[in-house]
């Protein structure tokens, strides 16, 4: 089976709607099919991978820890739009440390997140075969 490039675009805040959680579940399931998977976090979507999430006050499950499992699923192309971070007063330091372990390099931890400009993000999106927008 030929490998296709799948892009999952996340644009919404993690809680308040079910989009973020559903996207994450779809991505984990898609990982089983061994396709070339990328994720993009744009607009309020950047909050999905923000550090220090706490859902105690809203009675919802805090699923942010699950993003840290993405590396185990060989999902290590995570693009975050710099302008979206800037507009929210955030930097790369406000994001969770998402890494993957390179089995061929003695399990060295390598970063999965790549911060890109809006123009670069457009190129990344144009380079994909299939887009899912959440």
């Amino acid at each position: 089976m030929a490998t296709k490039k799948f892009m999952y675009v996340n644009r919404k805040a993690p809680y308040g709607t079910v989009y973020a959680l559903e996207a994450l579940e779809v991505v984990l399931i898609a990982a089983a099919f061994e396709q070339d998977i990328s994720l993009a976090f744009i607009d309020d979507g950047v909050y999905q991978i923000a550090k220090g999430q706490n859902t105690d006050g809203i009675g919802m499950k805090n699923f942010s820890a699950t993003y840290k499992a993405l590396g185990d699923y060989d999902i290590n192309k995570i693009f975050v739009e710099k302008e979206s971070l800037d507009e929210r007063g955030m930097t790369a330091d406000d994001l969770m440390d998402l890494v993957w372990e390179d089995e061929d390099d003695d399990w060295a931890e390598k970063p999965s997140i790549k911060i890109v400009s809006r123009a670069e993000m457009a190129d990344v999106l144009a380079d994909q075969d299939v887009h899912y927008s959440f």
Partner: protein, 111 residues
């Protein structure tokens, strides 16, 4: 919905035998679930069950079989990080069967 008898106490499980209340898990429940499928849990089984519980605690999901296989290879050695070894312990499928004994939901991405 059904129940499983654990040393005289009824424990609620779903139609596939997975624990309804994940927080109520005990080692006795794992032993009873295994016994119901004619499996006697060895140290090797417990290695996998304990790994799954730690993984769920950390990431809030049950890992897919491929992820489990890779992680077991890293933690317990390459000779155990393969599906042949895991299937020898859990013939009904390491994801489904081991997760059940560990009191976790069915793995995400289990297709």
């Amino acid at each position: 919905m059904g129940t499983l008898d654990v040393n005289g106490t009824a424990v609620e499980v779903d139609e596939e035998g997975y624990l309804e209340d994940l927080s109520s898990w005990t080692e006795d429940i794992a032993v009873a679930m295994a016994a119901a499928e004619d499996v006697e849990l060895s140290d090797e089984h417990w290695d996998i069950i304990n790994f799954l519980r730690e993984y769920y605690e950390e990431y809030q999901i049950a890992p897919a079989v491929r992820v489990l296989t890779k992680a077991v290879g890293k933690r317990l050695g390459k000779d155990k990080g393969n599906s042949k070894y895991l299937y020898s312990l859990f013939p009904y499928g390491p994801g489904k069967q081991a997760c059940k004994y560990a009191g976790l939901p069915k793995p995400t991405g289990c297709v």
